[in-house]
């Protein structure tokens, strides 16, 4: 049975269910349950639910130590940018230890953080920096775009035997959606087709999925059938679903809230060029944020972001351009 829940409640539900299911799941971080009058504390005690100082390096490093000692910590980091304070733990410790031990240890942990909070939070709290975590072998990256996925990807992240950056989108936290009750898992590395169409493939993540679907709706009125794909996890990436769609449509628009240089859309574009070139009827088009730190003031903030109009415009462009010789 599904019922409507906001995205943020769906995440908490997943953590709660996993903690009830598995005693080794711990939950801690800054401002996690400072008061004892908290659902997690009441259900799971202070041993498993802790509030921690603003010490990101220690918070994440401890999670690695807990994981090596047999636990599955979920660390609340609030903002993706706060992980940058502890880059060594995120990039150089957690994802490397399994391989360097010859597979003899594993580091199952979840780094839970929000991103993309373009709501007037200026330059240090609004970034879409998931691309920074995608190039790290051993580190998985999940980007839920719906309330159901928010629940299912969190449960999968907790059960995964590897470090996972679970990056929720701050603009989606109050969005409601149907969420299955009880145990619900969304597999990693399995993209979902949010809307089917035969003329053009749009790949989008997180908050931009909604923008892409809105653009697809507008385009439908113009007789253009857009297919919208949400990869849901960037590492692992379901390249097969994207390539199958490109084979059908021959035209691609890739949407990414990150800035263009080193955007994750670059990686998808390279994959299509590598394995799907002969299907293409037009150059691959990327709609990313513009190349700037996000400014505080609203007109400037809106200007740099991908939006419905930019996506629709890019689709019209790939449909209008001359075919590329295969």
């Amino acid at each position: 049975m599904a019922r409507e829940l906001p995205y943020i409640a769906a995440i908490n539900e997943a953590i709660h269910l996993e903690m009830a299911r598995d005693d080794t799941v711990l939950f801690y971080g800054q401002d996690v349950a400072p008061s004892d009058d908290d659902d997690f504390v009441k259900a799971f005690s202070r041993d498993r639910v802790r509030v921690s100082p603003i010490s990101e390096t220690a918070e994440i490093g401890m999670a690695v130590g807990l994981a090596l000692a047999g636990y599955r910590p979920v660390v609340e980091l609030l903002m993706a940018e706060f992980m940058l304070v502890a880059m060594n733990q995120v990039v150089n410790e957690a994802p490397r230890l399994h391989l360097m031990s010859g597979g003899r240890v594993k580091v199952p942990l979840v780094l839970k953080a929000g991103y993309g909070f373009t709501a007037g939070w200026a330059g240090q709290h609004t970034g879409s920096i998931y691309n920074m975590f995608c190039g790290i072998p051993g580190l998985k990256v999940a980007l839920p775009s719906t309330a159901a996925d928010a629940k299912g990807l969190m449960a999968t992240a907790i059960r995964d035997d590897n470090p996972v950056c679970y990056l929720l989108h701050y603009l989606l936290v109050l969005e409601h959606g149907d969420v299955p009750e009880g145990e619900y898992l969304v597999p990693f590395g399995k993209a979902v087709v949010r809307r089917e169409g035969g003329d053009v493939t749009i790949v989008a993540t997180g908050w931009t999925v909604g923008r892409a679907l809105a653009a697809a709706e507008t385009l439908a009125g113009e007789g253009i059938a857009a297919e919208v794909i949400d990869p849901r996890t960037l590492n692992p990436l379901d390249t097969a679903t994207i390539l199958a769609s490109v084979e059908k449509t021959g035209r691609v628009v890739l949407v990414d809230q990150g800035t263009p240089h080193g955007a994750f859309s670059n990686v998808i574009a390279a994959g299509i060029a590598d394995q799907g070139f002969s299907s293409l009827k037009a150059p691959v088009k990327q709609v990313t944020a513009l190349d700037a730190t996000v400014a505080y003031s609203e007109p400037m903030e809106a200007y740099v972001l991908p939006n419905e109009e930019k996506i629709a415009g890019a689709v019209r462009q790939v449909l209008g351009s001359a075919p590329v010789a295969a």
Partner: protein
């Protein structure tokens, strides 16, 4: 507030003393052979030796159980050996062989031997201090009497991770014993160039937990100081900090030109060599005679030779392992 206790003049039982001496010889002979093999290009990569620091590794690790975790930094051979890692598996690891403790994927700086409680080492100074806090927190959540020991050098003390870890360990009163091997050098520079605080134990002065500084080449003193801390930690108290003043008798890494060294200090620390000192003490106490003492070294040399032979017989890992082991899978269960 910090309580100071002195362990100088501490006494060891004969069998304990002999076990420590044998362990130290195994570490010494292993590392000297590693140095030779490094020059012969038979072991790879960056090699950091702990010659001169064997007493700390032995006196701490030989008191711990297999289910007590230890973490170490980049100079970790001695800790792993003292904790129980088999020499052949250690040597094979340094040679990049399948039979190594990490199947040849980690090497000298990333030794792991979970079976004996060697939880990990790191190539980043101070990088795994919080991991040890996590290990001690796990022990606390689990509810047993396990204790975690964290080995680190004086260079790690200036890293932010140190302060964050100390605060948390103190706040949550975790069963964690910080063991600092203050060898006078942070990589290539002396401590005075890194901090105004000479003794590392004084860096934790703001926190009211027990701390002690001992001569790291006085093995009975290290044993005694650590034993007292361990008893308390087993009883659920913590953290504590044990600072052992040692001397790094080789370069920061094998091949280091070492233009920064002071000949007077060299001579002084040669005189204070912990292996020779404990051996002399053992003879003096009548635990063994001169012949038996010499045979300890010989036995260690034999063991290292055997380890080298076994390691050389071990094949290199299948290259595909490098890609297979990026992600843990359901089948992977901690050893």
């Amino acid at each position: 507030m910090a309580k100071s206790r002195t362990a100088a003049g501490a006494k060891l039982e004969a069998d304990t003393g002999l076990d420590l001496l044998a362990t130290m010889w195994r570490i010494r002979c292993f590392e000297e052979r590693v140095a030779a093999l490094k020059r012969a290009f038979k072991v790879y990569g960056l090699i950091h030796l702990s010659i001169g620091g064997e007493g700390v590794a032995a006196a701490v690790c030989r008191q711990l159980r297999d289910d007590d975790g230890i973490y170490s930094g980049h100079r970790a051979h001695g800790h792993a050996i003292a904790k129980g890692a088999p020499l052949a598996k250690m040597m094979a690891e340094l040679m990049g062989r399948e039979g190594g403790v990490c199947r040849g994927l980690g090497g000298s700086m990333h030794l792991v031997d979970r079976q004996h409680g060697m939880m990990g080492a790191t190539g980043v100074v101070g990088g795994n201090l919080p991991l040890a806090v996590g290990d001690a927190l796990a022990a606390r959540v689990r509810g047993g009497d396990q204790v975690t020991a964290m080995f680190f050098g004086d260079g790690a003390v200036q890293a932010g991770t140190f302060a964050e870890s100390v605060n948390l360990a103190a706040l949550w009163e975790l069963p964690l014993i910080f063991v600092c091997e203050n060898n006078g050098f942070a990589e290539f520079t002396s401590r005075a160039e890194h901090s105004t605080i000479e003794q590392v134990s004084d860096v934790v002065a703001p926190y009211g937990f027990e701390r002690e500084t001992v001569d790291g080449s006085d093995v009975p003193a290290v044993w005694e100081a650590f034993r007292a801390f361990l008893d308390e930690a087993r009883g659920g108290r913590g953290p504590m900090l044990l600072e052992c003043l040692t001397y790094r008798r080789r370069g920061h890494y094998e091949g280091d030109p070492q233009q920064y060294r002071d000949p007077a200090a060299e001579a002084e620390w040669e005189r204070r060599d912990p292996v020779a000192r404990l051996q002399a003490h053992a003879v003096e106490q009548g635990w063994l005679d001169d012949d038996e003492a010499r045979s300890l070294e010989r036995r260690a040399l034999e063991e290292v030779k055997d380890a080298e032979r076994v390691a050389l017989e071990s094949s290199y890992p299948d290259p595909s392992l490098a890609a297979e082991l990026v992600y843990a899978t359901e089948e992977c269960r901690p050893a």
